[in-house]
């Protein structure tokens, strides 16, 4: 029996990551799509779900696979991803973002080679264009092009973005799932038969993939000597057992998990973004405990698990979330030994993926804060996203989630809470741009950015003064119109993606119970279902209403001047702009501005929540803007708050940069007034924290200080009678430090990796496109980050 050595395993994990970072081309996804396309005709008479399962199995049969000599586990998700994600693409520019999604654009993300020739790529692109999925989606985009062109809203088909529940497979093996399906097949109505057959085929696909890896491992074993031989023997034995059989220890559990995850991602190639692990500490702890593995060996095995989530030279598999800690429904803390081992693995490896999130609650042990200190205060080290589990219980229960399920809340992608294995939230389905809607409201449906007519909005011939007096009322009326159009298109996109069923994923999302595919649009395959709507521009619009009021009360004679200034981007109107900027702004504990933001948030959340998705379930208001505050801001003209045309919108629920002039304490007070109960889709907020305010010596002490100075007032404030905020991400750094890193990367980030957070994900700061780098620097403006 091979005895794990933590140091050797760690060394191998580091080498494995280095190896991965050298891979600058990804073609596996193309092989899958091409093979699936090839078998379209052969399986055309089956139901869509069964056809998908059969085609996918054919692809897995031929997909080239290998096992690195540094791998302790078999499996990679490299073949599921294209090199597409814009924000980590150095050539990405805010200006090039198009409010139109071309589902065949992914074929631009593969560089032709001798093997993957231009002709071969173009042939598949053309074939894809004729699929029901692409045709339907293109029709949807065509139908709303005018409204998405300058991003009054945006919609997309949601892939990935779910949290599979693998616990059953780890505990009982795939064989249990297969026998459950057999039972269902014996008694289910005819209409579900092919669905169950599809699920069965796709579970057999993971076994087929396992068998292929086993063969490779056996071949390697023949040539292997010494320690590697023992490792490969273990690998071969393990692959003979899992995932078919129950996992018996931590090593087997991780191997089983990896193979399941790989298959799940391959099924959604080329864009299975933002799948999330869930509470990894609770998933793996029973297996660690069974063997009573030490913290360092557990951490070393988990390091390989973490490396698995990194794809290619820029970690192209983005927004994969892994959560730790949290509480049960009675408020008992669920932190365990694997929680701390995972933290060690994260800290030692400092990888761009998967993103670490932590659920905190009022009974979180100080030890956890102490252990988090090193993450927060080591420059260039990843920092966890922080969730308030006490609030999540309140928010999700209010949204209709059974209290017994809330323990399994985790984060899909950036900060959207979902229930592991039970919840299809279609989290990024729709994107609502309040800034643009205000611009169009004040300018009769015409863009002040391009002069184009965007929408036919009800208009009365009226003077500027009346336009401003009615601004709120008209804005809310128009928002209803845009919301309707957005929902129509978003549901259309969900119909389009339903043409690509996902039977494998369905087996770990409750599909065996319901008999339906996760993406089914007529029958609900998961226990919970909804569609997400990411709401942009809360504080710039609230601040704009406040500024309009100030102008109406102090200099109403300038109403027309203001409307004209918005069209000319305040050209020659600096004095007027200064006047508008001097109006109270959200984020400074100003009653007027904060009340406006509260009202706006309430109204828009209610509006979004009242809309129904393709299954008749409500949309989920999500006040987060994952870098889209930049992208959409580029298409929003000047606003009455003084924000100039094409500038960024505010990030998530935060004040616009530069507008919170009195430090974090006042920002916290403003933030706490917002109606978090209504944010069942999530929200985003970022604190940049200057490390100089934490003067204690050790990381542990800093962790406790961070709890007392930042987290406790925000999350667990005894004097707050409302539902408390439930999300925060921080970067403990300053703009000055980051400028130095950019200027001298070799000096400040000798490894080439300087991890930062942008919205819910973390990235290598040095990998980011310049626009995003500058955004991060800008939002660390000292006035809003001061702790006195």
């Amino acid at each position: 029996m091979y005895k794990f050595n933590a140091n050797i395993l760690t060394e191998m994990a580091n080498k494995l990551f280095k190896e991965e970072r050298k891979i600058n081309h990804l073609e596996g996804w193309f092989v899958i799509k091409e093979t699936e396309n090839k078998f379209e005709e052969k399986y055309k008479d089956f139901s869509p779900m069964k056809k998908a399962a059969l085609k996918f199995q054919e692809a897995v049969k031929v997909l080239p696979i290998s096992i690195s000599e540094n791998a302790i586990f078999a499996g990679t998700q490299r073949d599921a991803f294209a090199r597409s994600y814009a924000l980590i693409n150095p050539s990405f520019k805010v200006e090039t973002f198009a409010g139109y999604c071309d589902p065949t654009a992914v074929f631009d993300d593969i560089d032709p080679t001798e093997e993957f020739t231009k002709e071969r790529i173009e042939k598949l692109r053309e074939a894809e264009k004729n699929t029901p999925y692409v045709k339907t989606l293109s029709e949807v985009y065509d139908s709303c092009e005018n409204l998405t062109g300058e991003v009054a809203f945006f919609i997309e088909q949601v892939t990935g973005h779910l949290i599979p529940d693998m616990r059953s497979v780890l505990k009982y093996g795939v064989k249990k799932l297969l026998s459950q399906i057999d039972l269902k097949l014996a008694s289910c109505p005819q209409e579900l038969k092919e669905n169950y057959e599809a699920m069965k085929i796709s579970l057999e696909t993971v076994l087929l993939l396992t068998e292929r890896y086993k063969t490779i491992a056996e071949e390697s074993l023949e040539k292997a000597r010494g320690e590697r031989k023992e490792q490969l023997e273990l690998m071969v034995n393990t692959l003979s057992r899992v995932p078919f059989e129950p996992a018996q220890g931590l090593y087997e559990a991780i191997q089983s998990y990896i193979l399941m995850w790989e298959t799940m991602c391959l099924e959604q190639a080329p864009n299975p973004f933002a799948f999330s692990v869930g509470n990894a500490d609770r998933i793996f702890e029973p297996f660690r405990a069974k063997e009573n593995l030490s913290r360092d060996v557990t951490a070393a095995l988990l390091k390989h698990f973490l490396v698995f989530f990194n794809v290619g030279d820029r970690s192209w598999a983005i927004s994969q979330n892994l959560i730790i800690s949290g509480r049960d429904k009675n408020g008992n803390d669920l932190t365990n030994d694997t929680t701390y081992a995972l933290l060690d693995a994260y800290y030692d490896m400092n990888l761009p993926q998967p993103i670490l999130s932590v659920k905190l609650h009022k009974n979180t042990p100080d030890k956890l804060y102490e252990e988090l200190g090193r993450f927060l205060f080591t420059p260039g080290c990843l920092t966890p996203s922080l969730f308030n589990d006490d609030s999540l219980y309140e928010v999700l229960q209010d949204a209709g989630v059974d209290v017994d399920d809330i323990e399994d809340t985790s984060i899909a992608g950036c900060q959207e809470p979902l229930i592991m294995g039970k919840d299809n939230g279609n989290t990024t389905n729709s994107w609502f741009n309040l800034g643009k809607i205000l611009e169009l409201t004040l300018n009769n449906g015409y863009s002040t950015v391009t002069g184009e007519k965007i929408a036919d909005l009800p208009s009365e011939k009226t003077d500027a003064l009346t336009t401003l007096k009615n601004a709120r009322e008209n804005f809310y009326r128009n928002a209803e119109f845009f919301c309707d159009e957005m929902v129509k298109a978003a549901n259309g996109a969900s119909v389009a993606i339903s043409h690509l069923p996902v039977p494998f994923l369905s087996t770990v999302m409750g599909g065996i119970e319901t008999g339906y595919d996760v993406r089914d649009i007529k029958n609900q395959g998961t226990k919970y279902n909804g569609s997400g709507c990411l709401i942009h521009g809360i504080s710039v619009v609230a601040d704009s209403f406040v500024a309009i009021d100030k102008l109406l009360s102090e200099r109403p004679q300038d109403a027309e001047r203001l409307l004209n200034a918005l069209k000319t981007n305040f050209e020659g109107e600096e004095e007027l702009r200064e006047f508008l900027l001097s109006a109270p702004k959200f984020g400074n504990n100003s009653e007027k501005a904060d009340n406006e933001a509260v009202e706006l948030t309430n109204k828009i959340a209610d509006m979004v929540r009242s809309r129904k998705n393709y299954l008749g379930n409500p949309f989920r208001p999500d006040f987060s803007t994952p870098s889209t505050h930049l992208l959409y801001g580029y298409w929003v003209g000047a606003l009455p708050c003084g924000r100039k045309s094409r500038d960024m919108l505010n990030y998530g629920l935060d004040p616009l940069y530069g507008e919170a002039q009195n430090g974090l304490g006042f920002r916290t007070l403003s933030l706490m007034k917002l109606p978090f109960l209504k944010m069942c889709g999530g929200y985003a907020s970022h604190f940049g924290i200057d490390p100089k305010y934490f003067t204690t010596d050790s990381y542990e002490e800093k962790g406790i200080k961070f709890k007392n100075k930042v987290m406790k007032p925000l999350f667990f404030n005894e004097l707050n009678n409302s539902v408390a905020p439930f999300y925060l991400y921080v970067n403990v750094t300053t703009a000055e430090i980051l400028r130095k890193v950019l200027a001298e990367p070799k000096k400040y980030a000798p490894s080439g990796v300087y991890i930062m957070r942008i919205h819910g994900t973390f990235v290598n700061f040095l990998d980011l496109s310049p626009a995003i780098q500058q955004d991060i620097i800008k939002r660390l403006d000292p006035q809003s980050t001061t702790i006195c």
Partner: protein, 247 residues
Amino acid sequence: MDDSLFVFQKGFNFSQDGPGNRLVYHLSGCNMICPWCSNPEGMKKEDYSQKYSLSEIFDEIISCKMMFFDNGGVTFTGGEVSLQATALSRLIKNLKDAGIHTCIETNASLKDTEKLIPLVDYMIADFKSPDKELLKAVTGGNLEIIKQNIIKRVELNKPLLIRIPLINNFNTGQKNAELFSEFFRTLYKKSESKEIYAEILTYHEFGKDKYKNLNLSYSFNDGFVSSEQVNLLKSELLKNDVKIIKT
């Protein structure tokens, strides 16, 4: 102006300027001219400050109650708070009536400080040097008044934190350590509650950049202290049973 205050900065701070989480107002203007001052923008009342009516500040403080956790409250610092003692004492009385914990941080070198001393729940006073002449020459401060004010607070048996900014070439060394300790001995003798605490602040140059931004020259050099210098003072104070804390 007795119904308004001039403030050049405000924000929250945890436990460094009094107990718990505190809203800290920096009042403008200072009577001293410490060359190492980390808030040079607060030296002159007319510069960089914003005028607030007392009711505005009062309302703001009340609206921040949620942040006064861990027995926190509001702290007024400077500049030098005693320069606005009349208005500030009115505000503090109102805050006490509203149940808000109050604190001042003062250089204690003005007669007017005595208006505030009996009012606040917690007081932080600087004690920069036991050498009368040197203190006058370097900072412009009056040691006698400082001592009188500190003694007044001690005699009220209310909590008092005395901060010693330890600065090389100014107040380090054995003789200074002994003189500091001697003063503490006097204080403890006068106090029944013994709620007298000392904190040693080591010299830093956090404010140096501000001088550049304000077009002022930062004239102090070589102020950093070694750990030996700190330990010397510390052990001398401990020898005299002085309660040393670190915030």
